[in-house]
Point group: C2
Chain length 120, copies 2
DNA sequence: ATGCTATGGTTACAAATGTAACCCGAGCGG
DNA sequence: CCGCTCGGGTTACATTTGTAACCATAGCAT
């Protein structure tokens, strides 16, 4: 999903339903896009099936057509596939080697895995 | 970096120096691209400064202008920023919640972190 | 009633990306 | 010598993405 569309999805996931005007206003503040730009993107996203629409009284209400978790998973898997041969381990390894993980982050990871372990 | 260019970089990182013909042959097998396509991409990549060129006897020899590790790190950080607010922890958490990590992979991660801990 | 604003629709246009043809010169294989 | 392949350059064209203007309608506010 292109970045511009992702930005809109984020807001929908957060506070759907939203009308065009609401989205446009938000996007204008966040990115400086004009209403036109936002409307174009919404149209494209609709065509791609990213959105569910409901005819509201005053204006249409837009909802994401799928949950964020699903989109995030797909993007993540495609990313891991492309750069790390699909392996999260390889990714973490790389980051560790590059020392681009803070001690803090490493602790965090360990905690996540430990929590995992408990549930088993 | 666009995907098509990334594919070429992967080969250069693996076995540079390579000539156009070598790259083209490899790409043709791997993706079905014609020589033209590969040459176009090489030209673009050259313009973007992705490549270092040496005038060989017979043909130019191409090298990546930066190491894979560097490119991977940049792409990874941009990806993490976009989807996970920059947090690897959040990413792993998500994958765990989605149960899209095998027991095997979790073990692997733990091992990586443990190895880390040793070195400190 | 009348203009302003929100809605929705259509069209535009540049840059990036994917994919490729065409052209020319040089050297290799016969 | 002569065609074929290789290397290198230039041009082309569709699709996707980023960004936006233009147009028409319907209701709200004065």
């Amino acid at each position: 999903m292109p970045n511009s569309e992702w930005l809109i999805m984020e807001h929908l996931w957060d506070k759907a339903p939203m009308t065009v005007t609401q989205i446009a206003k938000t996007m204008e503040e966040e990115t400086g896009w004009t209403k036109s730009t936002t409307k174009t993107l919404i149209a494209r996203m609709g065509a791609k099936g990213y959105l569910r629409v409901e005819e509201g009284d005053r204006a249409r209400e837009y909802y994401p057509a799928f949950p964020r978790s699903e989109a995030v998973l797909a993007e993540t898997q495609s990313f891991l596939g492309r750069l790390y041969n699909g392996s999260l381990g390889m990714m973490v390894n790389t980051l560790v080697d590059q020392k681009s993980l803070s001690r803090q982050e490493i602790k965090e990871l360990r905690a996540i895995l430990d929590k995992m372990g408990e549930v088993k």
